[in-house]
Amino acid sequence: MSEKLLEVKNLHTSFFTDSGEVKAVNGVSFSLESGKILGIVGESGSGKSVTAYSIMQILAGTGKVVEGEILYKGENILNYSKQQMKNFRGKKCSIIFQDPMTSLNPTFTIGNQLMEAILLHTDRNKEEAKARAAEMLTLVGVNEPEKRLKQYPHELSGGMRQRVMIAMALACEPDILIADEPTTALDVTIQAQILELMKDLQKQLGMAIIMVTHDLGVIASMCDEVIVMYGGRVCERGTADAIFYHSSHEYTKGLIRSIPSTQNMKQKLIPIAGTPINLLNMPKGCAFCSRCDNAMKICLEQIPEEIWVGEDHLASCWMNVKKQMEQEKVGASK
């Protein structure tokens, strides 16, 4: 078994707003092995990005991790000093963001922004850092790297900028790359290119990736393991195969039903009814209960516990409990 690079245990992150505490992440646990790609999937407001930001400790203003542990190679990074945290960010763990248009500083050149991290985390001098920056640009498939270094972000296309973001994130060879919806803001053709690039780079450099996305297609094509989130909680987690072929949470099932594919071309798509929940008013029971077709009385009252539903496959849905009880009943009566 490969080593555990990152372990998140029972993470709770809240935002303290004027209207009250918003529990954006509510008891999330998972682990990441080196060299693997983990997908976190969920709709907007499900807490997937906040989970990623919690790991990087870059939560906006009022956000705070209130409970839980984040272990990097066995060390809890929540206990890190400011200096240690600065070393962790960018060097051990990097992140690329959703919108490459706004994620680069408009008033500095690409070169300046690329070299900043290199100078900060390595012993390279300015010349070497520049060479490294150019090398990274070549690696991510940006043509004429020397010229690009002198350009400003607004002179580059969206796809180019995302490549620059990736180059920036990987410049110091981190162990973990967090990709927060890296392709959402891009054109479809560019999306495919960027994903392909990330897969290639992962093979070449061997870092682990946490892919945060709402796009099940991205998950299916890239990830080894998947976490499905809803309302700040984990619904289901396991290998990509298990999630796609043996979905065991009503929400995951709904998500998969709503993907258009060549097999169900002639059928009508079945969307998930209702709207995402309001994090300020969490229901007592399962977060998904009000939108779930098969919701039971217990779903409304009690939060389902996470149980094993297969090898390497966990889910938090009362339906599984019911199924197991029925099976046991059948077993008992035999």
Partner: protein
């Protein structure tokens, strides 16, 4: 860039031209000439005086003569004091520029520092105090402020002597001049700093492992300063040319107070001269601030 620059300069020239036209013709629209008040003078003397200042010629011709003189650096002679106007202006501008320069520097430096502090310490006591004081300072008219300063520190406490002709104590006028722009810059910097700190690129910088200090002073401040620059340009111009109010109250004899006296004296050539001088300075500072603005923000293209 060259094309943009030429365009801006042309616009500036047009503006200055329009100002000379407005100033010249509005002034002449005022009933009563400069020599009406001296009742003692006989009609002959008056006619002679008017001839000396070309006031007997048609208006348009007067204007042309005046503009021709301008090109030679000749702004004419004051009808009140008989002194050369260009020289008077330069002398009084020195005073205004000294006081104004100090005030502008203080306003910019303190404004940016206080504004940044307020943004960083958002919702703390420090932020509230800074915001409260700067809001308060923008609510006091300058002549009230200057009078209070004069009354308290000069008359009551006797800390500063401002009236003697040879001692140049600029502390009070500089405070009076700088307080309003300083407060304004503070508020402006705070708003734009908060805006900048909430931007995605600040998050990116943080995620790269850049220290808090560098995030603020490298990544956020540069972007936050863009709106401040647009304000600072014209502010410097208006402060350098001297506040009419502050200069009159502290009897500094700067350009601003010269302008006020020239209006009350109906000293036409002097009004014209100061107006044009101030306008050129103002328009020039606007031009510079526009160019600086475009240098700081690479997104703006020169079209």
């Amino acid at each position: 860039m060259a094309k943009y620059f030429v365009k801006r300069v042309l616009l500036a020239i047009v503006t200055i031209f329009i100002i000379t036209v407005i100033a010249f013709f509005t002034m002449n629209a005022i009933p009563g000439g400069p020599f009406n008040s001296e009742k003692a003078s006989s009609p002959q003397v008056k006619a002679a005086l008017e001839a000396r200042y070309n006031l007997d010629k048609p208006l348009l011709e007067q204007y042309v003569i005046y503009v021709q003189g301008l090109f030679h650096g000749d702004m004419g002679i004051s009808t009140k004091t008989g002194r050369d106007i260009a020289q008077t202006i330069l002398e009084s501008f020195k005073v205004s520029a000294t006081v104004g320069g100090m005030a502008a520097a203080i306003a910019i430096v303190c404004g940016i520092v206080f504004g940044s502090i307020a943004a960083l310490k958002r919702n703390t006591v420090i932020d509230r105090i800074i915001v409260f004081l700067s809001t308060l300072a923008t609510a006091v008219p300058s002549f009230v402020l200057a009078t209070i300063l004069l009354y308290v520190f000069s008359m009551k406490l006797g800390w500063f002597q401002v009236w003697s002709a040879d001692s140049h104590n600029y502390v009070l006028p500089v405070i009076a001049l700088s307080l309003y722009p300083m407060s304004y810059i503070t508020r402006l910097t705070k708003t734009s700093m908060l805006d900048a700190l909430g931007q995605d690129y600040v998050r990116t910088a943080k995620a790269k492992g850049v220290s808090q200090v560098l995030v603020i002073f490298k990544h956020a401040l540069r972007n936050a300063l863009i709106p401040v620059i647009t304000y600072v340009g014209p502010m410097i111009a208006s402060i350098l040319t001297g506040s009419m109010v502050v200069e009159s109250i502290f009897t500094l004899g700067g350009l601003g107070s010269k302008f006020v006296t020239s209006i009350t004296n109906r000293d036409y050539p002097m009004i014209m001269g100061t107006t044009i001088f101030l306008a050129v300075l103002m328009v020039g500072m606007n031009l510079i601030s526009d160019l600086v603005y475009k240098l700081v923000d690479p997104r703006i293209t020169f079209d």
